[in-house]
């Protein structure tokens, strides 16, 4: 009887550690995303942040010449592999033959943080990529 209770307690602990660990990476990735990426990719990731569409924020200025990727679009995001994303975030759009308006974050974020952002983007698009 006592053994069973112990086992139960232990499995709860395990569950707690796992979900806790999961949430920590997800929370941190979201924090980084909200801080750095939403200014262009939009608060929801749909490509319409203030830099992309100033007029949406009542600022009279032309839209960004290249629209930041819609991170919610499974269709667009499926064209990218995880490695494509990693490169784009780390070294900027130019590293993947895209626009330099996507800036390099390799000296701002750690490799681990970038890895977590890639996972987070896969959550946003709800897609696996190629």
């Amino acid at each position: 009887m006592k053994k069973r209770a112990l086992l139960l307690a232990f499995s709860f602990l395990l569950l707690f550690v796992f979900t806790g660990g999961y949430q920590v990476w997800a929370t941190m990735a979201k924090e980084n995303y909200d801080w750095y990426c939403t200014q262009c990719h939009g608060l929801k990731g749909t490509g319409d942040g203030p830099n992309s569409r100033p007029s949406k924020y009542d600022i009279k200025q032309p839209d960004m010449s290249v629209t930041p990727r819609n991170h919610r679009s499974a269709e667009d995001m499926n064209k990218l592999s995880d490695e494509d994303m990693r490169l784009a975030i780390k070294d900027g759009g130019k590293a993947v033959s895209k626009s330099a308006l996507m800036p390099p974050f390799g000296k701002t974020l750690t490799d681990k943080e970038i890895e977590d952002l890639v996972k987070y983007l896969r959550k946003l698009c709800n897609c696996k990529g190629k």
């Binding site: 801080w35 203030p50 830099n51 924020y57 200025q61 900027g92 800036p103 390099p104 974050f105 000296k107």
Partner: protein, 230 residues
Amino acid sequence: MSSEGARKLIVFCIALGVSIGITATTGFAGPKEGKAIFEKQNCGKCHQTQGPAKEKTFEDQMKKKGPELWYAGDKFRKEWLEEWLANPTIIRHLKYNSITEKSKGGHPSLSNAQAKDVAAYLLTLKSGAVKEGVVKEKSSPRAKLNFKKKYGCIGCHTIKKGKKKKIGGVTGPDLSEAGKRLKGDWVYMYLKKPKLFKPIKRMPVFAGIINDAEMKALAGFVASQGRKKK
């Protein structure tokens, strides 16, 4: 005392007398007076005047109500500072620290005389990390291209296109008049030592990505924006 020494002393006394006279007639009292005004007007409620930067997390930055001024003497041009403190305009398109709300302006303003004193005070605040005379404050086609096309600075900063139109992103401070406002040597150090002035910001770190020569040229380009060509 030699006659040369005596002459120097006389010249010095005259200069001193003249400057005191000027001060008395224009009401310009200088840094000490400026500091008193700064304190009395509670400017420190929103502006940090003592370095170094202490922010470590996004939260630390979010707690700030205005840009730090502890390196104002490295950053700003005197004429601009005197003019702006009396007639403040919008520099950051969005409300400080926000990426959703447009700035409404309305910064507290000072009288012309007060502005001169406060400017004199702010210009005494320095980081000790900025060497002067390093950057040539001029535009070049190459630096402009780097700003727009190679490093995508324009994604977050506005500059002028032609006489009136502005282009670029809005989450970074407006740089279309940066040549009147910022010192090139500071801009260079801001890019080179990003953690020193502003450890937590939405701008990515470019140190280690842009080489030194290009960085100086970019700083020169920024510090020439909105200035009349000679």
